[in-house]
């Protein structure tokens, strides 16, 4: 499956940057998942969990408020606050 670039940044630091297969995030008007080639899309975020799938690895982050910027090739998530809560 084609990968795309995902970065998760909080004001203090960059928590994730790299090529991923899929990212699920809590949008203001409903959760959404992003694959490679997604429509350009911008939304604000609710508090919730962001799940990042890269290969067989899965990492989860708790984000509080923020903003998502999706283009066909990349997904940038500006979180107001973010912490990693688990990996699998």
């Amino acid at each position: 499956m084609a990968k795309f670039h995902f970065s998760l940044v909080s004001p203090e630091r960059e928590l994730y940057a790299g090529e991923v297969d899929q990212v699920d995030a809590p949008g203001a008007e409903g959760d959404f998942g992003v694959f490679e080639g997604h429509e350009p899309f911008m939304t604000t975020l609710r508090t919730g969990t962001v799940t990042v799938y890269a290969g067989s690895a899965r990492r989860m982050f708790e984000v509080q408020g923020g903003f998502a910027d999706v283009t066909p090739e990349s997904f940038t998530l500006l979180a107001e606050q973010a912490v990693e809560i688990g990996a699998a």
Partner: protein
């Protein structure tokens, strides 16, 4: 002329001062590295934020644009935000920022504008309070913790409340830009109305013919982003200040250590001369005493 004993005390005192400046220099060097990393880590967020806002601002304009972007259309009441460090012993870094802010305040007052002041960092407060105490809105201190988002959040909120409450028209931030370890430049940056960096807008991503979908809509996204952008810019300024402060402190303490070293050398030579003169004098007394017998 000072006696040998007095000079010995003096040398000992300069030596202990030198130990202190040396220690402070090393502490500043260690903290500088951490502050620099923090300042750099905050950059991607600020940059992305700037480019997103620039892109959004292109599509949102006219009377419907958010107040924080469009401005009140007036230029009468200014809020000057001055950010410095809490502590001194770092050469002119704090004083330079305070001087730049003071010049701006005096110039604005001369033009008949209303100026109010908000300070971040103890040195900004101390430097401006005597002259402009009546204009103060609030002073914040950095405290001992490494500055983070929770420090700037309430400051940003207060600025936004003042602005949306119609009490101010323009907000300008003064801080010390961290150019390099040996160069920190006092800088003024307009926070409100937001200045859209057109250079950022042109670096818009390749959409492959698609058009951005907004959830909720552009205006609402801008409404949430602009206030956050103020906090982000404040944080960036505070972090740059902090890195610049430690760099300046390291340089100042390095110079102080060297000066103390020079002083010790000079004093030691002087002490040796005095001691030798003393010995010579005593010898002459003995010899001429013996010759007289």
């Amino acid at each position: 002329m000072a006696t040998v004993k007095e000079m010995r005390t003096r040398i000992a005192s300069v030596k202990s001062t030198q130990k202190i400046t040396k220690a402070l220099q090393m502490v500043a060097a260690a903290k500088l590295r951490r502050a620099q990393v923090a300042a750099e880590a905050a950059r991607p967020y600020a940059r992305r934020m700037a480019s997103v806002i620039a892109n959004l601002a292109k599509s949102v304009s006219g009377p419907s644009a958010p107040l924080l972007l469009a401005g009140t259309g007036k230029d009468q009441r200014h809020l000057i935000v001055v950010a410095t460090a809490d502590r001194g012993l770092a050469g002119g870094i704090n004083a330079n920022v305070v001087r730049a802010a003071r010049e701006r305040i005096v110039a604005l007052t001369a033009q008949g504008k209303d100026v109010r002041i908000l300070t971040i960092g103890r040195k900004a407060r101390d430097g401006l309070r005597r002259q402009f105490g009546a204009r103060f809105v609030e002073s914040y201190e950095l405290g001992l913790k490494a500055p983070g988002f929770d420090l700037v959040q309430p400051i940003a909120q207060q600025i936004i409340d003042l602005y949306l409450g119609g009490e101010i028209d323009v907000v300008t931030l003064f801080y010390s830009q961290f150019k390099s370890v040996i160069s920190q430049v006092p800088t003024a940056k307009q926070l409100v109305p937001a200045i859209v960096d057109q250079a950022e807008a042109t670096t818009s991503p390749d959409l492959k013919g698609g058009v951005y979908d907004y959830e909720p809509d552009e205006n609402e996204i801008l409404e949430t982003l602009l206030p956050r952008n103020i906090a982000v810019q404040l944080l960036a300024a505070v972090l740059e200040n902090q890195a610049g402060f430690f760099a300046a402190q390291m340089a100042a303490m390095d110079a102080a250590t060297r000066n103390a070293g020079d002083l010790i050398t000079a004093l030691t030579i002087q002490m040796n001369r005095t001691r030798q003169a003393q010995i010579t004098k005593e010898l002459i007394e003995i010899i001429s005493g013996a010759a007289a017998v």
